[in-house]
Structure formats: C-alpha cells, structure tokens
C-alpha cells in the first residue's frame, strides 16, 4: 500500500449544536482502501461523513486531501470553487435513497452524463457512448439508457446512482448506507458489484453503515463509533472476530448467526 495517504483527518470535531455530532476524529485513508464506519443511530457516523467531505464545516481539527493539482492540502485552505470542483470530479457521493442522488426527471443516460457535461464535455455521441458503457458495467441493459430512473427498480436506481458518480473516475467515494433501503438479495448483488468496482478502479471509500455484514464484505478497516467518538478502530477482521471494546462486543454479538 502507498505510504502517502489520500485523506488524512486529524482531531476533527464537528457538532450541530455543540453537543450532537462527532468529536476528536483522527484517521488516514490510503488510495484504494475501504473504510467502514459502524455504530448505532445518532452515534455521529453521518456527521463524520459530511464533515470529512466538507459539506459541514468542522469546528476544529483538519482534513487533508491529496488533490491532483495541488498535492496534499488542508481542505480549509481551498476556495469554495475548488472544493466544488473536487466534489464533482475527484469525489463521489452515494446516498442511501437513490432518489436523493439522482435527477429523477431526466433519463438514465442524462444522469450518468451530467458530471461529464459539468466538466466541459460537449459531444453528444461521446457522452452517450460513455453512459452506455457505464450502464453495461452496472449490469443494466443498455436499452434502458433513455428510460427515466423512476421506471427502474430500487437496486437498479442505486446502481445508476453509483454509475453517475464514478463516470468522472473519482479517487474517493463517500457512501451513506448504500444498501440499507434494498432487500437482502439485491443488497448482496450490489455489495458484490461494489467490491468489484473498488478493486478494479482502485477506489478509496468511506462507507457509513449499521450493517456489520457490509463492513465484513467491503471494508479493509473499520471504525466503531458511539456517542460521537471512535471507540475502536482497526482491521475489519480483527474488529469483528476479536472485539475489545464492550460496545463493539455487543454489536458483534447482536449479528444473527445462521
């Protein structure tokens, strides 16, 4: 693994009202590495994701990112324009509800091609070709390129949302409960696809989930959060097989065994 981290978070605190949120978060993320953040509802998982991706500004601490053009910089030092460009090109955001991340009134093709148009591509034929190939990669029939996302099933919508994000070849993807609103068989298929994409594209990802199975399948490393703080972190297998913190032990023991 590369010694230079892609993302580095140091003593970051981000709260909504001085109480709720996440506190004193520190971690490094290397290129191609998948980090899962697990914990119960209200433990600050989503806040952490928003603060790291600079959608909510942290109160203290810093977030460093290895940008393509300026090297390793503190996100606080970037202009709003630069941050937005970063979010549009080098990052991806996959939301729990695909409807939040998709443009529902336009076709699947337009959804996938939007980011490319946003970075200045102006050739319809090329855009369409790229959109078609991404649909194929997502295991969706290319004939559905001109269908509205509303005509897609939940699993397909989620895959479409992922394609829409990956089309600019981001190096890092933020996912907030990507499989939570899908039924179990569809979840398994999506996880399979995600695992393959992450490996093929060397994507780094931060995945927020309350489902330890997702962490087990996808993540190299896992952070366990409770009450806004990281209570335990380490290799996923280590955490799931040999939990140290009482809360992690509780989490792991609450998985239904087959």
């Amino acid at each position: 693994m590369n010694s230079q981290p892609l993302l580095s978070v140091r003593d970051m605190t981000c709260t909504w009202d001085g109480v709720h949120g996440c506190r004193d978060i520190s971690f490094d993320l290397h290129p191609g590495e998948v980090l899962c953040v697990v914990g119960e509802s209200g433990s600050g998982k989503s806040t952490l994701l928003q603060a790291v991706s600079w959608q909510a500004r942290p109160e203290s601490g810093s977030v460093w990112y290895d940008t393509r053009d300026r090297g390793f910089v503190d996100l606080a030092s970037l202009s709003a324009a630069h941050l937005r460009l970063l979010a549009r090109t080098d990052w991806g955001f996959v939301r729990q509800n695909a409807r939040d991340g998709l443009r529902m009134q336009v076709s699947a093709g337009a959804n996938i091609a939007e980011r490319l148009m946003a970075v200045g591509q102006r050739h319809y034929g090329d855009l369409r070709r790229v959109a078609g190939s991404w649909l194929h990669k997502m295991e969706i029939d290319a004939g559905r390129l001109d269908d509205a996302p509303a005509a897609f099933s939940g699993g397909m919508q989620q895959r479409l949302q992922i394609a829409r994000n990956l089309v600019t070849h981001p190096r890092m993807v933020f996912m907030d409960e990507p499989t939570a609103s899908l039924d179990v068989s569809v979840q398994a298929r999506l996880l399979d696809l995600l695992r393959q994409l992450v490996a093929d594209l060397k994507l780094a990802a931060i995945v927020v989930t309350h489902d330890l199975a997702v962490a087990r399948l996808l993540a190299h490393r896992t952070l366990v959060m409770r009450g806004g703080r990281v209570v335990e972190s380490g290799l996923t297998d280590q955490i799931l097989d040999d939990p140290q913190h009482p809360y992690t032990q509780l989490l792991v023991s609450s998985i239904l065994q087959s």
Binding site: R84, R103, R122, Y124, D146
Partner: protein, 296 residues
C-alpha cells in the same frame, strides 16, 4: 389606423411614466449595473403595477424608468402590434407620459416586447425592453436561489446541457424552441425571455441595447450593444433555428418567423409572418404571398 392610439391624451393626475421619481432612479441604478455586467441578474424593488404579474409588469417598469418625453414607443405582443396586451400597454404609456407611440420599428426609440424581436434590423440608439416571466435559467435544474447564485458566481453551467442532452435522447434533436439558454459575453448564462430560438441569433452583436425586466421575480438584466451572445449546443448537434417549408401566405417572405394559423374546423391552416409590421410593410412594398395572389 389605430383609433385608441389617436384618442388617448396625457393624464396629468399621474407622475410622468406612472412611477414616482425615486422609484425610477432606483430602477435606473439597477439597470446601469445590469449593463455593466452583461447577463447578470440584478435585484430591484419591483412595484405594484396596475396590471397582474405575468402581463408584463417587469417590462413596463423598465420602460417607465428609461422613457423620456422625446421617445417614440412601440409595443409588441407575440410579434403583433394589435393584440390586447400590446394595445393596452401602448395606451397606458400614451396616457401617463404623453409620448408618441408607433407601430414602426424604424421610428421607435423604445420597443417593449413579449415573445419576439422585430424582423426589421435594429439600429444603434434603440432600446429593446423584454418582459420576462422567469429570469433564472438554472431554476429547473436547481430550486434553491442561494445555490443558483453560487452556480452563477462560479460559472458552473455544465448542468444546463443535461436539458439539451435529454431533448436529443427523447426527440433526436434539440427540441427546446423558445427561451433557449444563452451565454452572454462568454460569462453569464441568461434566459432570453420566451422569444423563439429563431430570434437568438439576432441577440448576438446587436447594435441596440437589450433590457430585460421580471416584475414578479424582481430582477433586471441586460445585453449591451455589440455583445457576444452564444446559444448552447453540442459539438455534434450544433444550434439551429426553426425552418419552414412554407413562405408567408400574405407577403411571401421566406426569411421571417411564421405563425401557423388554423382557419376553420376542418383544420385548414395558413402560415403567416408573426411580425405584423414587417408583413404589412412588405405587402405595401408590393410583395405578395400565395393567398394574397389568389385574392387578387
């Protein structure tokens, strides 16, 4: 020719041009800023006007702010000088300013319009005033005003092509026919008000000053004379204006924007110039279309 136009006299109960002087000054200040930053939407304090929103309150306020006693006013609605809206706005200004009104584009110093730019080329010193329903071109893409302003500030206009992409995907060509988005002076994205895209090329490098007023949305914007105005398109689907297989039935013109008029319940239709003044002028100059030749 036009009875109402001849009979209306200046009504001294109203201040010149209806609005009070400080309101007109506020509007002129906003307009100066709009001219200084081509295509940028400048907020202004829109006033209650004696007609409903959507009937041209923005355009009327802009005209009221810039009109002087020596001006000659022309008002167009759907390309026509003699529709209800055009006649009423013309009579309104005749009554509150006493200025001369006209149907001739050449004579006019101010042309207030909805839907069309006259076929007769404009010249330096003339001012076009557009009535704008929704000034924000990014509104369909992004409902939040703070977000659209940020997008304008950072010139993030890539998303606008999504609409054109969708048109081609659904119809095989760019099917947006009016209010076709443009980039002004290589910087700001602008809605040219509901003019047909046929008129978009006339905006580019036009010698006249173009002012746009949206009353309900409280915004003015402008295209100064000789400013670059580029319509959005794709490399492999370039911008094209509408074309017709017909010529105007009345004047035989093949260069003007044609309206399709249904004449009876059997669906008999006829194509005629949308710009009535242009059509009348051509007929007076001896040009005749198929219908006019039959009648003769």
């Amino acid at each position: 020719m036009n009875l109402s136009q001849a009979t209306v006299a200046r009504d001294d109960h109203y201040n010149f041009a209806y609005l009070d002087e400080s309101t007109k000054r506020m509007l002129r200040r906003a307009l100066l800023k709009a001219v200084a930053i081509p295509g940028y939407q400048v907020p202004f304090g829109s006033r209650e006007m004696p007609l409903p929103y959507g009937w041209g309150t923005g355009g009327i306020q802009v005209t009221a702010a810039i009109i002087g006693a020596g001006d000659v006013l022309k008002v167009i609605d759907q390309g026509s000088d003699d529709t209800t809206n055009a006649i009423n706005i013309r009579r309104f200004f005749a009554r509150v300013t006493g200025v001369r009104t006209t149907e001739s584009t050449r004579e006019a110093t101010i042309v207030q319009t909805r839907h069309r730019i006259p076929e007769t080329p404009l010249r330096e010193g003339q001012v076009m005033v557009y009535q704008v329903p929704i000034p924000e071109p990014l509104r369909w893409l992004e409902p939040s005003e703070t977000e659209t302003r940020t997008m304008h500030a950072l010139a993030e206009y890539g998303g606008m092509h999504v609409k054109l992409y969708e048109d081609i995907a659904q119809h095989g060509h760019i099917a947006t026919t009016y209010d076709y988005p443009v980039i002004v002076n290589g910087r700001y994205m602008m809605r040219p008000s509901p003019i047909p895209k046929f008129d978009n090329p006339k905006l580019d490098g036009n010698p006249a000053l173009m002012l746009f007023g949206a009353g309900r949305e409280k915004r003015v914007y402008a295209v100064p004379p000789y400013t670059r105005v580029k319509s959005l398109d794709f490399e492999d689907h370039p911008f094209r204006v509408e074309q017709w297989d017909h010529c105007c039935e009345l004047c035989g013109s093949r260069q003007s924007y044609l309206d399709e008029i249904i004449l009876d319940d059997q669906g008999t239709r006829r194509f005629v110039c949308s710009d009535t003044e242009y059509c009348t002028d051509r007929q007076a100059a001896g040009y005749a279309g198929p219908a006019a030749q039959e009648a003769a």
